[in-house]
C-alpha cells in the first residue's frame, strides 16, 4: 500500500519535516512570517510527486553514467546526472550518488522562488542545501559518525563563500560505500555536487586487499542496488596507525584533486577517530596543504 507522505511541523514550531519513502527532509526558513509561510507551502508543493517523478526514471538513474547512457528527462534527475558527470570518465558512478543533494536543492529552490527569505536550509538526511541572502551566514555542526552523532566541529558558511551545499557520505549512512571511511563531509557549490563528491571521496578512503575488511556484493544486501555486484564495506577491523593513514591519504589525494579542480571547496575525512581536513572548513583545522590550479 502506498504510504502517504508525512508532513509536520516539529515541536519547536520552526522546522518542517517532510518524508516520502526514502526522502526525509528537515527544512527551515527565516524571513518575514508571510514569506516563511509561503516557503513552507512551496516546499510541500515541490515534494508533491517528486519521488514519483524520480521513480519513473529509476532504471536510468541507477545505471552507470557513460557516453552511451540515456539522458534522464526530469529536472531533478538531470541535476543528479550533471553532478556525477565529471566523475563518469574515470570511475564507476550512477546519478543515484547525487540523489539526496539534488532533492534538497530542488526543494530549496522552490522555497527561495516563492518568497524573499533571509536564510533557508533543506537537510535531506545529512545532505544539505543552503540559501543565504547577502550578509547572512549559517553555522553547521560536523559529526564523524552519522550513526552515533557527536559534534566534532562546526563550520560557518557565509553568503560570500562559494558554498551552498554540504554532504556527508560513509559506510554508516543509509547508502552503501565502496570505501572504509566512517564519514566524509564535503562543502561544495551545490548540495548535489557535494553529495556526488562525498561518495567519490568516501569510496577512495580504502585499503584495497586488506584481509580483515568484510566486503559483500551490494546486491546481496539490496537486490536492486545501483551498485550491482560491486563489493561494499560491511565491517572494518581496528586498523593500525599506518593502515589508517594509508587509507586516509588515498582519500585525501582524491579530495585534493577535487579542490584543486574547483569541484569542491573543502573536505573532512573521518576514520576510526582520526579527522583529516582539506580546504577551509570552519573550526576544523586544515591539516592538508592544497595546490590550487591558478590557471584553471
Amino acid at each position: 500500500m502506498r504510504e502517504p507522505p508525512l508532513i509536520r511541523l516539529l515541536p519547536d514550531g520552526r522546522r518542517i519535516h517532510l518524508q516520502d519513502g526514502p526522502i526525509d527532509l528537515i527544512l527551515e526558513a527565516w524571513g518575514a512570517p508571510a514569506a516563511v509561510h509561503a516557503a513552507h507551502r512551496a516546499a510541500a508543493a515541490r515534494m508533491n510527486g517528486l519521488l514519483d517523478e524520480l521513480c519513473e526514471e529509476l532504471a536510468i538513474l541507477r545505471a552507470p553514467v557513460g557516453a552511451l547512457s540515456p539522458m534522464p528527462t526530469g529536472a531533478v534527475a538531470r541535476r543528479m546526472r550533471a553532478a556525477v558527470q565529471p566523475y563518469a570518465e574515470d570511475c564507476f558512478i550512477t546519478p543515484m550518488a547525487a540523489v539526496a543533494g539534488a532533492v534538497a536543492e530542488a526543494v530549496l529552490a522552490s522555497m527561495v522562488l516563492s518568497a524573499p527569505l533571509d536564510r533557508a536550509y533543506v537537510n535531506n538526511g545529512g545532505d544539505i542545501a543552503l540559501h543565504l541572502a547577502p550578509g547572512q551566514s549559517f553555522t553547521s555542526g560536523i559529526v564523524d559518525r552519522p550513526d552515533r552523532p557527536s559534534l566534532i566541529g562546526t563550520v560557518q558558511i557565509s553568503a560570500g563563500d562559494a558554498v551552498r551545499g554540504i554532504a556527508t557520505s560513509g559506510r554508516h549512512g543509509r547508502s552503501f560505500s565502496l570505501g572504509i571511511a566512517d564519514a566524509v563531509t564535503i562543502l561544495a557549490a551545490g548540495a548535489a555536487d557535494a553529495d556526488a563528491a562525498a561518495t567519490i571521496v568516501a569510496n577512495a578512503v580504502d585499503l584495497p586487499g586488506h584481509a580483515g575488511i568484510v566486503r559483500v556484493p551490494a546486491d546481496s544486501l539490496a537486490p536492486d542496488s545501483d551498485l550491482g555486484a560491486r563489493l561494499v564495506t560491511r565491517d572494518v577491523p581496528t586498523l593500525s596507525e599506518a593502515e589508517r593513514d594509508q587509507a586516509l591519504d588515498a582519500g585525501l589525494a582524491r579530495a585534493a584533486g577535487l579542490v584543486a579542480q574547483g569541484r569542491i571547496v573543502a573536505a573532512s575525512l573521518h576514520l576510526q577517530g582520526v579527522t583529516r581536513t582539506i580546504g577551509r572548513l570552519g573550526s576544523l583545522e586544515e591539516t592538508e596543504p592544497v595546490r590550487r590550479m591558478h590557471y584553471a
Binding site: M1, P4, L6, D20, G21, H37
Partner: protein, 495 residues
Amino acid sequence: MPDTAPIRDGDKIRCDACPVMCFIKPGATGACDRYMNDAGDLVRIDPHIILDRAVDRGEPVVQFLERAEDWDGDPVTAGGRFVTAIGAGTTYPDYKPAPFIVSSQIDGVDMVTVVTEGIFSYCGVKVKIDTDRHLGPERSPVRAKGEMIGHVTTGEYGSQMLSLGGVNHLTGNGKKQGRITCDAILDLCNGKPVELTVDDGATVLVQAGKPPVVNGVLEERMRVGCGSATIGMFAQQWFGKVDEVVVIDDHITGVLSEHQAGKVLGVKETGIHMTGRRSTPGRYFEVAHPGTGWGGTAIQDPLSILGPFDPKVAWAGLSMLMISTTGEQFAYYELDADLKPVARELPAALAESVERVKENCEPALSTVLFMGGAGGSLRAGVTENPVRLTRSVKDALTYVTCGGAPVYVWPGGGITFMVDVTRVPSNAFGYVPTPALVAPIEFTMRLDDYAALGGHIGHMRSLDQVLAGEGGRKLPQLDGNPWPLAPSDTKRSHG
C-alpha cells in the same frame, strides 16, 4: 490487517510503501530504513505507534501529495496525536512510573494518558466461530500442535465459542503447554491464522476477522436462523410452490406443514414422520447427531431423518424440499406410488427460495477478543495508590484503551478488559518467555482526576516532548474506533 499480499521473489519482498518499490531480502531494510523484511513479513520498523487523528476526522493524514493546492501550509498539529502503548515498553516488574505519562490539552481540557505495555499472565482469547458445523462437545479440549490450550464452551447463535489460553494453560501445566499456548494466542491476537483441533471434534483454522475453515472447508455463511426460524421466515415464499419443507438444523429442525407458520397459511398435513424429539409442533430437537454435514448435523443423506409417510394422509406426487439453515445443502423429492421420496431436479420457483436463504446468511467469521487483567504492578506504574486507578476506571473517570482501541471493562474487581483484536493496530501484541502476553494499555483521564488518584505527576511529559523525543511510527486511527482523547464520553469504555 494487510490489504494485499506483497509481491515476492523467492524470500525477497517487493515493498510497495513508496514508488521506489525496493526488493528487500530477509533481515534487511529498504532504501528508506523504515520497512523491513522480517522473516517474510513486510513490517515497519519504527517501533512506537502514535495514532494520527487526521484520518478519524475524515481528513487525509497529509494533504500535500494529492492536494497540494488545498493545503493551507499548516501541518497536522500535535492535538491530533495519541501516543499508544504499542512499542512503548514497560517498567514491570518494578514499581516505577509507566514509560510514558503524556499530558496534552484537548479542547481546552488538560488530559493525561498513561501509556505502558502490560505483561499479562492472566490473559487469553475468547473466540467466536460462526458455523453451524459441530466443532466438538462442550468442555472438549482444544489443541494447538497437540497441546491443550483451551476448551470448547457454549454454543451461541449461529456460532461456537472457544476459550483459549488463560493462566492455567500459560503457567499451570508445564513449560511446553505454556509455550504453545502463548504462541497460539499471540498469533491469534496479531491476526495470524492458527490451526486448532478439538478432541472428538473438528479441525478449525481460525484467523481474526476471516471466515473459519472447518475440516478443510471454508465456512462462508452463518445460518439464516435455526430450522424453525427459517420456516417462519420463508413459509410465505414456499407456500403454494411445494407441499412440504424440512429445514435441517442441529438445534431445531423445522417442518413446514406442522409449524405454526404453515398452519396459519393453511398448508395441508403431509403425513411426514420425523425422527428426533418433538418440541412443539413442527419443531424437532436431536434429529441426528451433531457433525459437519447438513445444518451442523452428521447427516449426509437427509432422508435418513424421515420415517415412512403416513399412507392415510400422504399422496403420490407430494413434493418436498429439504434444506439446511445456510441453504448450502438442499434436495427436492416427489413421492412415488409407494409414497417413497424420489429425488428430482429442483423446480425453478424453489431454486429462487434456496438462493434467498443463502442470500440472507451473513458472512461467517472468526472473531477474537483478547481478555486480560491489569495487575498490581501495572497499576503501580500509573499511580502510587493502585486501587484508586481501579476505582477511577469503574467510576468511568479513566478511559481504558488497548493500542488506541476501545475495550470492554468487566464489572467487579480488578481491571479485566476485553478488546476486539482487529481494532488494534497490527502486530501490537508481544510476549515474554514467562510465558505471558504483552499487550498495550493506555489509561486516559483528566489531569485533575489523575492528580487526585495519586498519579506520577512528576513524570508527566507533554505530548510535544514525546513526539519530539521518540522515533514513533505514525498510523492513522483505525476506522470506527472512537478517538481515545475525546474528553466527554469516557463511559463508552464500559461497553
